[in-house]
Amino acid sequence: MTLFNKVYKATRIWILLAVALTLPYWVPNNYYLQIFCLGMIFAILTLSLNILSGMTGLFSVGFIAFFGIGAYTSAILTTKLGFPVPLAMFLAGVLSSILSLTLSLPTMRLKGMYFAVATLAFGEIMYQLFLNWTAVTEGTKGIKGIPALELFGTSFRSYSKFYYVILVILILIIMLARNLISSRTGRAMLSIRENDIAAEAVGVNVPQYKMISFLISTFFAGIAGALYAHMVRYVSPESFVNAESAAVLAMMVVGGIGSIPGAIVGGIGLTVLPEFMRFLGNIRMVLYGASIVLIVIFAPRGLGGLIERIDNILSGKQSLGVQKKQQHIEGEE
């Protein structure tokens, strides 16, 4: 290990943090800040999906539904019932978690494709609910005038302030997810993904842990949805269509299934990058489809794998050339 490796290892987290904390001061303007805010919200969502799909191996094709439940809950609680925003955001996570039981309880027995299809059906049904349950969701008119977050007398209406709220929540969730991986609960989830028969044999109550995975991941997804609602301050069903589920999946794949840094890079990357590709018009979507396939085939670990590799090289764990076998929370079924 060279001196450079040591310095890198000791400082990398602080450098990252410093960049994250000062971002609002060196991005050119509010537009870039807003893109970053949105990207970070989607990073949280991707991370949530990763707990379900990457860690537990439960593949969800309708995940945006929980983002939507979170957004609507917080929107309704604050606009119609006058709840304070922080409480409403927390309850958004809780309700998203509770509603996940309506999906997870009956589908715990289902495996692989069957489960994926059930989540797709759930996503479509939730969308129809947002659309048709007019008394609560205002239907297609959407919910307007959602208040911005206010805390200790400060309003977080501007992007430059709300950015820090998102950042804090993102860092918190990253920490929770990291702790989870190296814990009894996390290992039980990983073991289900790896081999559910062996998981049962070591005493894991498989349905119960699938459900726990669901509760945790949808809680975070609900929080992400609430953040979205209070940033955009308007929610309508169009934001939670199934194509958005596919977009979150793509973020997870591009980042690398099961990788925490990957989820962050995927979420932010696939929000920011399209902004600069928009001039391509319809061709952009063709390239988008093609790149999903190409990444799945040629870079199965996505950008997360690449980042981990560079990180290992810089911190001296791995030499350039050969790739040493390393622990990775992603697996092949």
Partner: protein, 253 residues
């Protein structure tokens, strides 16, 4: 005292009787081996005992209690562990994590403490890792602790399965062909180890084809053929049983 008993247990798939009316007992602190030609229903019997299959008839008793209705993970929690013939490891996880996962049924840390890194989690993790290292040392796996399970050689993977099964000090461990794929040197070591496991107070139930292993370490042998029990007794009794000799005749080991 009999720690594990089956009473007339049986299961059929699509009309085919895989295990039929098998009753046997495994005495506490002994090595009980189950032998029989290929397709005799040995692994199916293990799956019935471990709870992967629900028997069509009969019961399984563990420490004198009927556990037939219990799920696999509930049986593990009571102290019934197993390994697999065709290796079911968590391939993408490290050796450490595989064996740590084996401690699931004796650890308590809940999801909230897990995520928040509360003191009870940190304490438990520390203790768990200590236990894992002891087990890995016992099975000569310490040097691979950070390797991915899937990248180990076949023999090491077999060993790792045993480590994962015994790390939580179960009362009974079911070993499904631990010797397959091992060379002669390793065989001797394995026999020694199984004896050590028994001597440490874990009752062993063993499925094995390698007769020298079975004969040298078993306290009791049960012979299955076509899903039925055809003999049981000490190694000597079984070796001289005419029904056993007939079953094995022409069917080369």
């Amino acid at each position: 005292m009999a720690i594990l008993e089956t009473h007339g247990i049986g299961i059929h798939f699509d009309g085919l009787r895989a295990v039929d009316n098998v009753s046997f007992t495994a005495e506490e602190g002994q090595i009980t081996s189950i032998i029989g030609p290929n397709g005799a229903g040995k692994t199916t019997l293990f799956n019935l005992i471990a709870g992967f299959y629900t028997p069509t008839e009969g019961t399984v008793d563990f420490e004198g209690k009927d556990i037939t209705k219990l799920k696999t993970h509930e049986r593990t929690r009571l102290g019934l562990a197993r390994t697999f013939q065709n290796i079911n490891l968590f391939r993408e996880l490290s050796v450490m994590d595989n064996v740590l996962a084996g401690l699931h049924s004796v650890t308590k840390c809940d999801p909230i403490s897990s995520m928040l890194n509360l003191p009870n989690k940190i304490m438990e993790e520390k203790e768990s890792k200590k236990k894992v290292m002891e087990t890995l040392e016992f099975l000569n796996l310490s040097e691979y602790v950070n390797e991915k399970a899937g990248s180990l050689s076949y023999g090491l993977q077999k060993n790792l399965e045993i480590a994962r099964a015994i790390v939580f000090r179960p009362k009974v461990v079911l070993l499904d062909e631990p010797a397959s794929g091992l060379n002669t040197n390793d065989l001797h070591e394995l026999s020694q180890r199984i004896v050590t496991i028994r001597d440490s107070g874990i009752t062993v139930v063993l499925i094995e084809h390698k007769m020298d292993v079975v004969m040298s370490i078993s306290d009791k042998i049960i012979v299955l053929n076509f899903g039925e029990k055809i003999a049981d007794g000490t190694p000597d009794e079984v070796a001289n049983d005419p029904a056993v000799i007939e079953a094995y005749l022409g069917k080369d080991e």
